[in-house]
Subunit: 214 residues, 2 copies
């Protein structure tokens, strides 16, 4: 399958897709966009993804935007190894864990929002860091509670195989480093993150291992 | 099936789930939470959903959080009528449209974030309204472009049956009214919204038709 990933090394949504492609054993071409320079809003990328956001995956069927939609499509078209369990209730659990990160942290804490907070609302560096840390804590505390108490948690967020929730969680933990967020209060998240990053598929997807890493 | 929906009349994520339940013909008990009073963070609701966010759906298998996870679970366990197409590529299209609203507008514009913008960052009423309108425009402009140009668009976001993308889109359009956002620049979104709200399942889910409506 001919796949081209339009992305940015430090983007945590790009990380999710890179790690998913790696887990599926799918090769892809890597096209980097320097987000701080606005390259993702170039005419050529807007033609693929009118939102002008990364990641966008070019596929034999056409371009596809939105990291969660991309990952579910990869999972449905390349079922092995699965990124979601087979049972609907277990799938729902994994999606709800993934979405606690993908909807309640990342959209509020990504570069374009942080920029608006700083440039349009006039927040200083400390207030921007406070904003980022606030939304991480709001979601990580209940996530730690769920992961530590629910019996379905295993080596990974759900059992013994990495999946959709782990992709989102690991990407967020890496992103947190920019604001020096400790995982001391989140031992289960730390344990799962360590298990993820011990996998070659996750490690190869890490920001520092991308061609556009600074 | 015994279902209890913990929600709030004005919440657009609650709207999505109410309309999905109606489309599936599923009865449910309605438990309201006054978000402005923080009722969603009561001990009884936190026991069901440690994030303390609405909606939460109590099911025979247990409580389930996150509106998109809830809707996909409803769709997998009650397949008729479907809220997603059968073909993986079409499913991906619908999810990517849904997520342009559910990830790129709602998480940045919900009550808890608007409050932080106002109370912690000190934005005045005009700046808060500007914030809300900015994130709607950032996503609605490319969404209008996609919906107006892509041949898969029909009476609804994807073909002739309402689905996941319509649930998200209609909930957002209703939410926009609080900030008097006109759809004049988004004629396709307006047309799809009108088609949605002409359906009894969507109309019955509207904020004004809920028991806790003010």
């Amino acid at each position: 399958m001919n796949l081209v990933l339009h992305n940015f090394f430090r983007s945590s949504t790009s990380f999710r897709v890179r790690a998913a492609l790696n887990l599926k054993g799918l090769d892809y071409a890597y096209v980097p966009y320097a987000l701080r320079k606005g390259e993702q809003r170039s005419a050529s990328h807007l033609a693929l993804n009118p939102q002008g956001l990364v990641p966008t995956l070019e596929t034999p069927r056409g371009p596809l935007a939105q990291s969660l939609a991309i990952i579910e499509w990869l999972d449905e078209t390349n079922p092995s190894p699965p990124l979601l369990p087979a049972d609907p209730w277990e799938r729902a659990r994994v999606r709800s864990l993934a979405q606690a990160v993908a909807l309640d942290i990342h959209p509020v804490n990504n570069l374009r929002v942080l920029r608006y907070v700083a440039e349009t609302l006039g927040a200083d560096e400390e207030a921007v860091a406070g904003w980022f840390r606030h939304w991480v804590a709001e979601a990580f505390a209940p996530l730690e509670q769920r992961l530590s108490r629910e019996p379905e948690t295993g080596t990974f967020c759900h059992g013994e195989m990495p999946g959709l929730a782990d992709l989102c969680l690991a990407g967020q933990v890496i992103n947190n480093r920019r604001f020096s967020i400790s995982l001391a209060d989140y031992p289960t998240i730390q344990r799962i993150f360590d298990a993820c990053m011990a996998l070659p598929s996750f490690e190869a997807a890490a920001p520092n291992n991308q061609p556009d890493a600074e």
